[in-house]
């Protein structure tokens, strides 16, 4: 006999005028290797077919099943019930638009922020489909790949105190995305261009260093290290013309990242 798990799950259907936000309790027997994803499916199959939550890959790759688990954002498919107490509370990720119960629309948020930061390679080079791809140093390719591992689950945004208070803050995931383009030699943007895109309180300067993004990231991305690199680069850029150029260049040189200056 496994433990009796008590799930307290947030219920609300925004499109139903009769629906009111409330917590609903479900009790389930724990099985070996049970994840929250399995538990939620069992609840839906055996207790309440109207329970809404998102999932797709079941393997921490698609980022669909992000939710707030006992107060901390995480992926349902990555979270084993054995690591949780008997009483488990589940809420939808804040910041994002609620679709119903535990299901949120992260797609629109990521699309908007992606447009804001121009999340694509900017190059003046004409694409030649017949030409061989430019070679890239293996270490650099690995570094870019490391930052590209973000699955856009939204956990870092939901865990961020700034994002909770200020809805225009673009969050660690967007800065991480920018850091990925910053080190990519195929992207022709200069520090001044990055400064124009993320150099304000909605961008990199909005980060208050609370580190929760790092603690909850299911992919263990070094989000805050990237924030640090980008903040230094953009800060140094922000005082161009104010600080003597030799000091500014020295600071830029110690940025700790691939320089495009």
């Amino acid at each position: 006999m496994g433990r009796k798990l008590t799930f307290e799950i947030f219920r609300y259907a925004p499109l139903d005028p009769l629906s009111k936000p409330h917590m609903q309790t479900f009790v389930l027997e724990e099985h070996p290797s049970m994840t929250l994803f399995i538990a939620l499916n069992m609840i839906r199959e055996t207790q309440d077919a109207t329970l809404q939550f998102d999932f797709c890959c079941r393997a921490g790759i698609c980022g669909s099943c992000g939710m707030v688990i006992n107060g901390r954002p995480g992926l349902a498919c990555h979270t084993q019930t054995i690591d949780l107490p008997d009483h488990i509370s589940l809420h939808p990720l804040p910041v994002f638009k609620l679709l119903g119960d535990l299901s949120v629309d992260t797609g629109t948020w990521f699309r908007n922020v992606g447009k804001k930061i121009e999340s694509w390679i900017h190059t003046s080079k004409a694409f030649d489909p017949a030409a061989q791809e430019d070679r890239m140093d293996n270490d650099l390719a690995t570094k870019i790949f490391e930052l590209d591992r973000c699955i856009e689950c939204g956990c870092c945004v939901a865990a961020c105190g700034t994002a909770r208070m200020r809805e225009d803050f673009m969050g660690a995931t967007a800065i991480n995305r920018m850091a990925r383009f910053y080190i990519d030699p195929r992207d022709n943007r200069t520090p001044a261009d990055f400064y124009d895109l993320i150099g304000d309180d909605n961008g990199v300067f909005g980060c208050m260093g609370l580190l929760a993004c790092d603690s909850v990231c299911p992919k263990k991305l070094p989000l805050h290290d990237q924030l640090g690199i980008m903040r230094r680069m953009v800060s140094v850029e922000s005082v161009r013309g104010i600080l003597p150029e030799f000091i500014r260049k020295k600071l830029a040189g110690s940025c700790g990242c691939h320089s495009k200056a």
Partner: protein, 208 residues
């Protein structure tokens, strides 16, 4: 130089917040060490006080430091949870998340307000009661300023320690791999400064 839009003036605030914070942190670290010299001997502290007054360093530095505190507060206050509902949202968020660094930011906000008010009174009482001597400080403590220091000293140490930690984290000096080491050093540093401050206050209290 690339021309900047007026909006970019605002985006420079982060740099000035960091720069002014770093200067103030440096000042606090040196100031508390100099004050702490009283633990070794009040004569040393009196000597330091005399030197700073004779060279006008104290008279010049005091208003500059107050101005720098005002400047730092004015810039950093843009991050304060002052807009409608922000404080409540942040507190609920911190309670749910149970993440120490999220709570530490609230500590920084509260201590910032204490320091802003306290620094003015601290500087005013010291600068209007020249010369700076341990005897004079002792009299002030016995005249009711002990309670003020019991609140002001920990606030300054907490705000400075957390501020240095945040500065290092935000600007990437403290990377993920070194974070535990940094955190430990900051806590030990804050503990040492607090101990030094308490010892100094005790020594000054019994000076009369």
């Amino acid at each position: 130089m690339t021309p900047r839009s007026p909006a970019s003036i605002r985006s420079r605030l982060d740099f000035w917040q960091a720069a002014s914070g770093a200067c103030l942190a440096l000042f606090v670290l040196v100031h508390l060490i100099l004050e702490g010299s009283v633990v070794l001997s009040p004569t040393i502290t009196d000597g330091i006080g005399w030197f700073l007054e004779a060279t006008y360093a104290a008279q010049i530095a005091a208003p500059c430091i107050v101005a720098l505190i005002l400047f730092h507060f004015w810039i950093a206050a843009r991050k304060f949870p002052l807009r409608s509902g922000e404080l409540g949202i942040f507190i609920d968020h911190a309670k749910a998340l149970k993440d120490p660094d999220t709570w530490l930011w609230l500590v920084q906000v509260v201590t910032a307000v204490v320091i802003l008010a306290g620094a003015f009174f601290h500087v005013y009482t010291v600068m209007t009661d020249m010369p700076i001597t341990v005897q004079g400080a002792s009299q002030r403590l016995h005249n009711g300023w002990l309670l003020f220091h019991a609140v002001f000293l920990p606030s300054v140490i907490l705000h400075t320690g957390i501020g240095i930690w945040r500065l290092a984290v935000k600007y990437g000096f403290c990377v993920k791999a070194q974070r535990d080491k940094w955190r430990k050093c900051i806590y030990i540093g804050m503990g040492c400064y607090l101990l030094l401050g308490v010892l100094a206050l005790t020594r000054v209290w019994f000076q009369i």
